[in-house]
């Protein structure tokens, strides 16, 4: 540690809160290779960045869903110990019911969440193909894609979710054209 950064540490000790004042640390971060970063980077963005190779359709996904999802979410996505995954009704009115089809703004979110966190008893266990397939099956149940439409890293971000423009950002600056 340099003497200069030590002086900065001392200078900050009297401050009451976590302030924006710049403090310098001892610089102990270790550099990482691009490959290790890639291995740990699981972010998937609405424009498709981060989506893996692979493909699957609702037809393929039906079986994955029945075997790995239906026990908690119901045979047709109507819900069980896990929430319902199908929603088509309007979002206005006192009994508006939010679910994938009528509420979620982007299809990549459905893929990303399934890939990270589902099935809840074995998260991260689905192959990329199975994840595309079960995503397609859920979008099919919600009336958004056809039964034979195969999804992959190019077609998934292009799926137009009905509620994509339904959100108003409150504590962050919303870009001109919401994604």
């Amino acid at each position: 540690m340099s003497i200069a950064s030590h002086a900065l540490w001392v200078a900050c000790l009297g401050l009451p809160a976590l302030a924006a004042d710049r403090i310098e640390g001892p610089g102990l971060g270790s550099p990482v290779s691009a490959q290790s970063v890639a291995a740990r980077n699981t972010s998937i963005y609405p424009d498709g960045r981060g989506l893996p190779e692979g493909r699957g359709s609702a037809g393929d996904g039906r079986l994955v869903y029945q075997q790995k999802c239906a026990s908690c979410h119901g045979e047709r996505g109507e819900g069980g110990s896990g929430g319902h995954l199908v929603g088509r009704g309007p979002l206005t009115g006192s009994d508006a019911d939010k679910a994938v089809g009528n509420y979620w703004p982007s299809a990549t979110t459905l893929f990303a969440f399934t890939r990270r966190a589902m099935p809840m008893d074995a998260p991260g266990s689905l192959s990329a193909d199975d994840t595309y397939a079960v995503t397609a099956f859920l979008l099919y149940l919600n009336g958004i894609v056809g039964a034979d439409e195969a999804l992959d890293a190019r077609s998934l971000p292009a799926v137009r979710m009905p509620n994509r423009d339904g959100f108003v950002w409150i504590d962050a600056v919303q870009p001109e054209k919401p994604r």
């Binding site: 900050c12 809160a17 976590l18 924006a20 710049r22 403090i23 310098e24 640390g25 001892p26 610089g27 102990l28 971060g29 270790s30 550099p31 990482v32 691009a34 970063v37 740990r40 980077n41 699981t42 972010s43 963005y45 609405p46 026990s71 908690c72 819900g79 069980g80 110990s81 896990g82 929430g83 309007p90 979002l91 206005t92 006192s94 508006a96 939010k98 994938v100 509420y103 979620w104 703004p105 982007s106 990549t108 979110t109 459905l110 990303a112 969440f113 990270r116 966190a117 809840m120 008893d121 998260p123 339904g166 959100f167 108003v168 950002w169 409150i170 504590d171 962050a172 870009p175 994604r179």
Partner: protein
């Protein structure tokens, strides 16, 4: 199944009989929840009996006419009353000690004659306090999916004991080896870096007392009928700790942020792999990489060994088990910032990225489940907090909001931290409705429920912060009402 929580049977029972079982599941994302059994009612009766005794002692001593002059309807008294009366008490107290039966009982106490227990490496609450506990509501198929509420009604002061800090886990509490854990910082930075916990421990640290509140806290308030439960089990997805760690800006600066970056994506190492987007400005302003909570290492259920703390903003952002920070140009649009933690409005549009926790207050004593055993002087006590900074004032009403009086704010009054408020109240046995209303330093005023529901409808699910009303009936029973 989580260990069955012994203090919940009565609540489950009374809620079921009220026909409002659904209300409990509203805090969860799933359709169905398990309600643990409970013996809360006996417990609260015992607590109330003890409290009533000490209250009675206070109220038996003389009140002069000035002291008794109410400052608002329903018997609210000047907030400085107890300060003045403290003098009177010390004299009366001395008399009681020297004179009588109480002294004799004390001398016969076995604890005076039998050597006590030995030391312990880690202290536990008294066996007699085992019912001041978190109340768990978890998914029956996935025991690690659910919440547990802090028993705010059973606590005093402003710090929540670490073991009673609320929990919201999406897929359980992970076991993480502190030696193997590495925080990765990457994305729009000059150099991607990793940090071990030993590395971070050598950085300059700060500690700050801050509340953490789940965006879904208090959300049974959207229900058509008021849910009958303890104050903590309605509003206790909020807790307050002294967090200590490294200012996040220090480590981000070390990685070198691309000036075009605007967001930071934070990710946990749990089985839900929770990730969330945070505006980079907030990350640089006042966020913390926390290693310690209330003086000790963070408890596993609160993020051991590393938790991101995002002061004043909804709890989902304060990522537990933090393992990855990605500097980005835009939000990642994770499920927990799109499908959840957004609020549907009557118009059909939804509020998104509603980060700030608006000012809220709740009276913790007396509160639902308590029974006042005698008329006379009580201290109305509660907690207030705001994500916008300090609490400036808390008003209390004993007549359902017709008239208000300012409560005493107990020091310290810190930004984005629980603030304890108190006001004396002379209950003469009539039906009273107690309310508290927080006003923060930005001028924001906690709204009445009617106003909040008129603005937001009842389908918003998150960010419910309306004024809560507790009704004290003629028998002294306290219930939750909408007034």
């Amino acid at each position: 199944m989580p260990p069955v929580n012994p203090s919940c049977r009565a609540i489950a029972r009374c809620v079921q009989s009220g026909g409002a079982v659904r209300a409990f599941s509203v805090v969860l994302d799933c359709a169905d929840t398990m309600i643990s059994p409970d013996t809360q009612r006996e417990h609260s009766a015992a607590v109330a009996a003890q409290e009533a005794l000490s209250m009675e002692r206070w109220s038996r001593s003389r009140l002069n006419a000035d002291d008794q002059a109410p400052v608002a309807g329903g018997g609210l008294l000047d907030r400085r009353l107890f300060l003045k009366r403290g003098l009177v008490f010390s004299g009366a107290g001395a008399l009681a000690w020297s004179s009588g039966a109480a002294g004799a009982d004390q001398a016969a106490l076995p604890s005076l004659r039998v050597p006590g227990r030995g030391f312990s490496n880690y202290g536990q609450p008294s066996e007699q306090e085992k019912r001041a506990i978190r109340w768990i509501s978890a998914n029956r198929a996935v025991p690690g999916n659910g919440v547990s509420w802090s028993p705010l009604h059973a606590l005093e002061g402003i710090i929540t004991p670490s073991g009673l800090h609320f929990e919201r886990h999406h897929n359980g509490v992970p076991d993480i080896r502190i030696d193997a854990h590495r925080l990765l910082i990457h994305g729009m930075v000059e150099r991607a870096l990793t940090f071990s916990l030993a590395d971070l421990a050598r950085y300059p640290m700060r500690s700050q007392m801050l509340f953490v509140e789940c965006g879904g806290n208090s959300n049974s308030g959207w229900n058509k009928e008021p849910l009958q439960s303890r104050a903590g089990y309605l509003h206790g997805l909020a807790s307050c700790s002294e967090w200590a760690g490294v200012p996040l800006a220090v480590v981000l600066d070390e990685a070198g942020i691309d000036p075009a970056a605007k967001w930071l994506i934070a990710e946990g190492a749990d089985a839900a792999a929770i990730h969330i987007s945070i505006p980079l400005k907030k990350a640089m302003d006042d966020c913390m990489l926390a290693l310690y909570q209330n003086g000790e290492r963070i408890r596993p259920e609160n993020g051991y060994p590393l938790r991101l703390i995002v002061p004043g903003w909804e709890g989902i952002l304060s990522i537990k088990w933090l393992q990855r920070l990605e500097v980005a140009a835009e939000p990642v649009m994770a499920r927990n910032e799109t499908a959840k933690y957004t609020e549907l409005l009557p118009s059909g549009k939804s509020r998104m990225f509603t980060f700030v926790m608006d000012a809220k207050s709740v009276i913790t004593s007396p509160s639902p489940g308590d029974t006042l055993r005698s008329h006379g002087l009580y201290e109305v006590r509660g907690l207030a907090w705001s994500g916008r900074g300090r609490i400036r004032r808390v008003d209390v009403s004993a007549d359902a909001g017709k008239t208000w009086a300012p409560a005493q704010l107990q020091e310290p009054v810190l930004p984005m931290c629980f603030t304890r408020f108190r006001i004396p109240w002379n209950w003469r046995g009539e039906t009273a409705v107690l309310k508290s209303r927080a006003i923060d330093e930005s001028g924001y005023v906690q709204p009445e429920r009617d106003k909040l529901v008129a603005e937001r409808g009842r389908n918003g699910y998150f960010h419910y912060n309306a004024i809560a009303a507790w009704q004290v009936d003629e028998d002294g029973e306290v219930t939750h009402v909408y007034r």
